[in-house]
């Protein structure tokens, strides 16, 4: 059973997924961050594969992508770094990145490597569902790799149902029409949107992302969906030079023990 399914079967609410960019702040940071996140009690981890032109990302993640590439991160190296991760980590791991580096690496080889490494799902925001269905679905299914689809407040009901039918694992609910890292509070429009989704009786659970940055927005998102994804706020913390000895644990605690 895919670990994502297992997670959602065992936990119905308050699921916390954390995103970070592999290769940031240091080239070899990923393994340590994953273990720290796991120890701190997060439910799922999204590992970002850096890209030179991350179109859906705001300034914080643009900067971490850029720095990670300067540090020398690439997909091949990332798989090498994650080679033994399943010996210690059992929560679902997801790779998130843009299409071009994955295509250059080779989609079949990528899926095979994901399976071998113990990656459970992939988020590629600029891979349209139509293209995925036509060209890549068989290879994803061959390796039991889930492709997670994004829906946004402007995605109409017909398309939400279509994406829901194609998606496995969970739907990534983009909380507002925005790039990542824009925390503008959890306004009524977001609540209405999440309520609308709740009323649609979709087959997949949903996690809310984009603009979730603290305990307050996390708990709001959890009221109307199964949980939430935090990216920019965490990456920003990783980039800060602080005296904290355990920045990962402290950050996670600030979200879930509030």
């Amino acid at each position: 059973m895919n670990r994502i399914d297992k997670l959602f079967r065992n936990k119905k609410n308050n699921i916390l997924s954390i995103y970070f960019t592999a290769g940031y702040p240091e080239l070899t940071s990923a393994e340590g961050i994953i273990k720290d996140l796991c120890a701190a009690g997060v439910d799922m981890i999204e590992i970002g594969m850096p890209f030179s032109d991350p179109l859906a990302d705001g300034p914080v993640l643009q900067q971490s992508n850029c720095a990670a590439l300067k540090n020398g991160m690439n997909i091949h190296l990332l798989f090498t770094q994650l080679e033994n991760i399943r010996k210690e980590v059992s929560i679902p791991l997801i790779l998130m990145g843009y299409l071009n580096p994955v295509l250059k690496y080779g989609m079949e080889k990528f899926c095979l490597k994901c399976a071998a490494t113990g990656i459970d799902g992939v988020i590629i925001p600029d891979l349209p569902p139509e293209v995925w269905t036509e060209q890549f679905r068989p290879v994803f299914e061959k390796y039991n790799l889930y492709n997670i689809f994004l829906i946004s407040p402007r995605t109409d009901d017909d398309r939400i149902r279509k994406l829901d039918s194609l998606c496995r694992g969970f739907l990534y609910i983009v909380s507002s029409s925005s790039t990542t890292g824009k925390s503008e509070g959890f306004d009524q429009a977001k609540v209405e949107y999440l309520k609308r989704l709740q009323g649609m009786d979709l087959k997949n659970p949903g996690l809310t992302g984009f603009g979730i940055s603290d305990a307050d927005s996390f708990s709001q998102a959890c009221r109307y969906s199964q949980g939430a994804i935090i990216g920019s706020a965490f990456v920003k913390r990783l980039g800060e030079k602080t005296a904290e000895s355990l920045p990962v644990r402290d950050f996670v605690n600030s979200i879930i023990s509030a």
Partner: protein, 396 residues
């Protein structure tokens, strides 16, 4: 029509719409409406009236006699440099702002490299009374100061982009991000035949006025139904697409596209995408792009800010792949020399971009009675700094 976009938004293996879901509703809205709007009589009347009375079209097809003599062939210049705002870019911005208005949008965004598309967008926004925000790489803001001031005088807000290499690619990415963040009231006037479908087709159709005019002008000037050669420079490819458009299915016309080689296609400092690139995804379409072994987009280089882009429109990539268009490239120095040749022989100071197309005249052996049309996509006012430097270096 084998070179036109198919119903899925592809030119052969190139094109498509590789966009995040947040952009999907806007792209779908445009895709479902653009042909309808372009075919609408009200639109066509308004578009052609503005092209004529506001942009100053038709642009002349000028028989360059001294240049012809120099190369011992018949050279005609398609004078897009004489358009309002000084380049072919205005053809596209007039068309797209009329579309934006019909879609009920009130805020316009655009990317710009050299500033020509930015100026052309700011111009039509002033004309139509719409809010205008232009994204421009910080490096380009510095090296194209006069155009920045023109945009500001026209009432546009110019946002310097500080990500990446701070040039055209980054300005385009930032415009896309702005559109994701402002999906309801905003329309993105993309400046070239790049981006997700339907933009490449939309911009090509709006720029096709160039070849539409060449068709009757060539008959008028030479009595012949078509030229033997058409030459245009290519960055994203909008003036080339417009110059070639009505001749794509006419194999009697040899089509030549000229990329910016920068310091040379082997130098690592180049913007010649067809010469040095490979297929990949950039700014929403599958096309030829400049990338490293990890699929990261590499930074291009050219003296010409308008050609300084690591991709090319999917139509142009397909025209290369299917051998309909012959691609060549010219270096910075070759372009500079060609710009001075045209200036001294014909009294026309071209922009650096079409100077690349002119440079190819040195490399092709034409027959004396060949009819060769070169599109002069813009004028050289914006490039005076580079020209003055060259003049001093070469003691011209």
């Amino acid at each position: 029509m084998k070179y036109h976009v198919d119903e899925r938004g592809y030119y052969g293996e190139f094109g498509g719409a590789f966009i995040p879901e947040m952009m999907y509703p806007n792209i779908r809205e445009l895709r479902e409406n653009y042909i309808k709007i372009l075919d609408d009589k009200g639109f066509r009347d308004e578009f052609s009236t503005l092209l004529k009375e506001y942009a100053g079209r038709p642009s002349p097809l000028f028989h360059a006699r001294r240049l012809s003599e120099f190369y011992n062939t018949q050279i005609l210049l398609k004078r897009e440099d004489l358009n309002h705002t000084g380049a072919h870019k205005i053809n596209n911005t007039i068309g797209q702002i009329l579309i934006a208005k019909r879609l009920g949008k009130t805020r316009i965004i655009a990317e710009t490299g050299a500033g020509q598309h930015g100026v052309a967008t700011a111009t039509v926004c002033a004309l139509m009374g719409l809010e205008c925000v232009i994204f421009m790489g910080k490096l380009d803001v510095e090296r194209q100061a006069p155009n920045v001031l023109r945009m500001k005088m026209l009432g546009a807000r110019v946002v310097p982009v500080i990500s990446g290499n701070m040039t055209l690619k980054d300005a385009t990415s930032e415009a896309i991000r702005d559109w994701i963040n402002n999906p309801d009231d905003t329309y993105y006037i993309i400046g070239s035949v790049v981006g997700p479908h339907p933009y490449p087709d939309l911009v090509a159709r709006l720029q096709a006025v160039i070849s539409e005019e060449i068709m009757w002008q060539i008959m008028e000037k030479t009595g012949r139904p078509e030229p033997d050669y058409l030459l245009a420079c290519v960055g994203g490819g909008s003036n080339a697409a417009g110059s070639f458009y009505h001749y794509l299915d006419n194999d009697n016309v040899k089509l030549i596209a000229v990329e910016a080689a920068g310091l040379g296609t082997d130098s690592g400092e180049t913007a010649a995408t067809i010469a040095t690139g490979s297929p990949g995804i950039l700014h929403g379409s599958r096309t030829m792009i400049m990338q490293n072994d990890d699929g990261q987009i590499t930074e291009p280089y050219s003296i010409s800010a308008g050609l300084d882009y690591p991709g090319i429109g999917p139509l142009l990539a397909w025209l290369d792949r299917s051998h309909r268009v012959f691609f060549d490239s010219a270096t910075d120095r070759e372009a500079l020399a060609a710009a001075f040749r045209l200036t001294r022989l014909e009294g026309i100071i071209p922009a650096l971009e079409p100077a690349h197309a002119l440079a190819i005249l040195d490399k092709i052996r034409f027959r004396p009675d060949d009819v060769v049309v070169v599109t002069i996509s813009g004028r050289g006012d914006k490039d005076m700094q580079a020209y003055i430097k060259y003049m001093n270096d070469m003691s011209l």
